[in-house]
Symmetry: C2
Subunit: 332 residues, 2 copies
DNA sequence: CTGCTCCACTTAACCGGTCAAATACGAGGG
DNA sequence: CCCTCGTATTTGACCGGTTAAGTGGAGCAG
């Protein structure tokens, strides 16, 4: 390992001068700087980032907690976060919590000791119970993709999930649907509430037994729940699913029940990935996840440079309705 | 920030004794240890990992380069890698290269300075040209999911991609297909070669113009290429796609051309994610990506503890044929 | 009582940088 | 010619741990 001291001796200066050349914080005479740079090249010196981190107190690394990266949603967020971090010269330490609170806690505890400069947490399912661990965190923490109530302590950049549900409901209302049902993940309460609001605005209610929760966020889970729903309540003319893979299962179930989409049953989902192309293409409420990730990361970095606590605010990104082929006015 | 020194003073010992209690490397009298532990709890002390890294020379962090995490393939690999690392008490530093060689090079250069203990590189598309940068790496490097020729310097854990193609070809041959075509990503040469070998074994050739390369690894790219293929060469009875999203596009194109799958056209893909459920379900050659990721990571960790260079070997994981509904004997 | 070993702990140096204060040097003004 | 001033470089302490060598006292044999 070639150190700064080695470079210094070779260039006939002290290591402090070498440091000055590298960081550029203090002026160095051009001829000296050239000599130092030559020595750096000849020896193939690269600064030891760990030593630098110890001295400066900054690792230039940001931790990012996500529930999973096996799907497109958080995967894309990770890429966006990484892009922003890279522009700022930071590295990305990734932790996937995998619906496992204990695992999340372990990871969290492992990071609390100066190995990251800041922490971004997406998806509230697993970490929620362990956030108090962070109450004495000395680094900025930002939450994003947060659907449930967030602790006051931390700034949040998330989606207006209630509005996402509302947009779906309003679309179905505008098409004339009255009897509808919802296929949801248990955590998606805000979307369900928004969906209901759209109907309530017209004096209609979405009864509790028209809201079904899938056992698992998989196509199979969506299929089972949708199948049960269509069997017990065949009168519904439209179905709202809060998760893209649930929509896939629902589409299957509709087909299996002999109902053509959209004529016999309208289907509207949330943030259907473009990879999931189906027949017909699914109408969806798009979640601006990349923009959200970018905003959250930039907020985090701003807090890092301003060395103050970040503005304790809640920033809501607006979802957007994308009408494709799976919704139509009800038959008859 | 409470340091080891603070704990030491509180417990009435020196910081070395505190260190001994924490690491357990040197015996400490039980009564003293208890006092130290009490002080740790009272002060809420957590060791500074950066300082420890500087002293020990180990960051307990492993870098992982992948082309992308927006799709399921590498996303699942990331999770598997993380699992193995976590068991060993290591962190994961993630870099996605995003088909951008220059970006990959920058990231690589940023890590060469003691910030990671080891490096795992998956997917050969972007990094290939920059591997010489690693020639003087002081830490273990392992390559995985490597389809092209790998540099001799590094151990490789990858898939027998040639065999993956062969299995697809053999399946079609066993069904009786003679005139077939391939829809490939440009980098998937090994799979195409294996596919050809299966036909060559029966004295048949897959002509060059039956192998089409998609402009982009997207459903749209697959659709365009498959559409062109079916238009110019309507006599093919089966189609092999080397990428899951290409298969989706191909399925669309077959439908658009009025050919029912599998009766008018058999379709076989590679590693179709279970999320991509289609009608009919796609026959596929499954790529054991999680096992591959696990093996590669364990190899890396072994190299880390044995403090020697890892055995410079090539380990090939066997793909597996999964017959579903998209393949059948040719019509007539 | 002396000398030896062993245990438990302390002391001092080190990892490789950064930071702030001190110093050497040359130019300009009186 | 001396003093001042500004710039370029050096000095020494420091970040918070780990490693290796050193020290003091207890226990035991001779």
């Amino acid at each position: 390992m070639v150190t700064m001291q080695d470079v210094a001796e070779r260039a006939g200066v002290t290591k402090q001068t070498v440091s000055n050349v590298i960081t550029g914080r203090v002026a160095v005479r051009p001829t000296t700087a050239a000599r130092v740079r030559a020595a750096i090249d000849e020896l193939g010196y690269t600064p030891n980032l760990v030593a630098r981190s110890l001295a400066t107190g900054s690792t230039r690394t940001v931790g990012f907690f996500v529930p999973t990266v096996a799907g497109a949603f958080y995967g894309e967020m990770v890429e966006e976060v990484e892009d922003v971090l890279e522009e700022a010269g930071h590295h990305l330490l990734l932790c996937t919590t995998r619906l496992d609170g204990e695992r999340a806690r372990r990871h969290l505890a492992g990071l609390t000791s100066r190995s990251v400069d800041a922490l971004l947490i997406a998806g509230d399912q697993d970490l929620l119970g362990h956030l108090p661990l962070l109450s004495d965190a000395r680094f900025p923490v930002v939450l994003c993709a947060w659907e449930t109530e967030a602790p006051d302590r931390f700034p949040v950049v998330t989606i207006d999930y209630e509005r996402a549900g509302y947009l779906a409901g309003r679309h179905l209302r505008e098409l004339g649907h009255r009897r509808v049902a919802v296929l949801a993940s248990p955590a998606h309460t805000a979307r369900v509430a928004g969906f209901r609001r759209a109907f309530a605005a017209d004096g209609l209610t979405v009864p509790d037994d028209a809201v079904r929760y899938a056992a698992a966020p998989t196509p199979a889970g969506g299929f089972a729940a949708a199948e049960a729903l269509l069997a017990t309540d065949p009168g519904v003319t439209a179905l709202f699913t809060t998760h893209d893979v649930l929509a896939l299962g629902a589409l299957e179930a509709a087909r299996a029940a002999g109902r053509s989409v959209p004529h016999d049953l309208s289907l509207i989902g949330q943030d259907i990935s473009e990879v999931l192309l189906t027949h017909p293409a699914l109408t969806t409420v798009s979640i601006p996840k990349r923009e959200m990730a970018r905003q959250a990361t930039e907020l985090l970095l701003r807090a890092l440079t301003k060395t103050g606590t970040p503005a304790n605010s809640v920033q809501l990104m607006r979802p957007e309705l994308i009408v494709r082929g799976s919704t139509a006015p009800p038959a008859g």
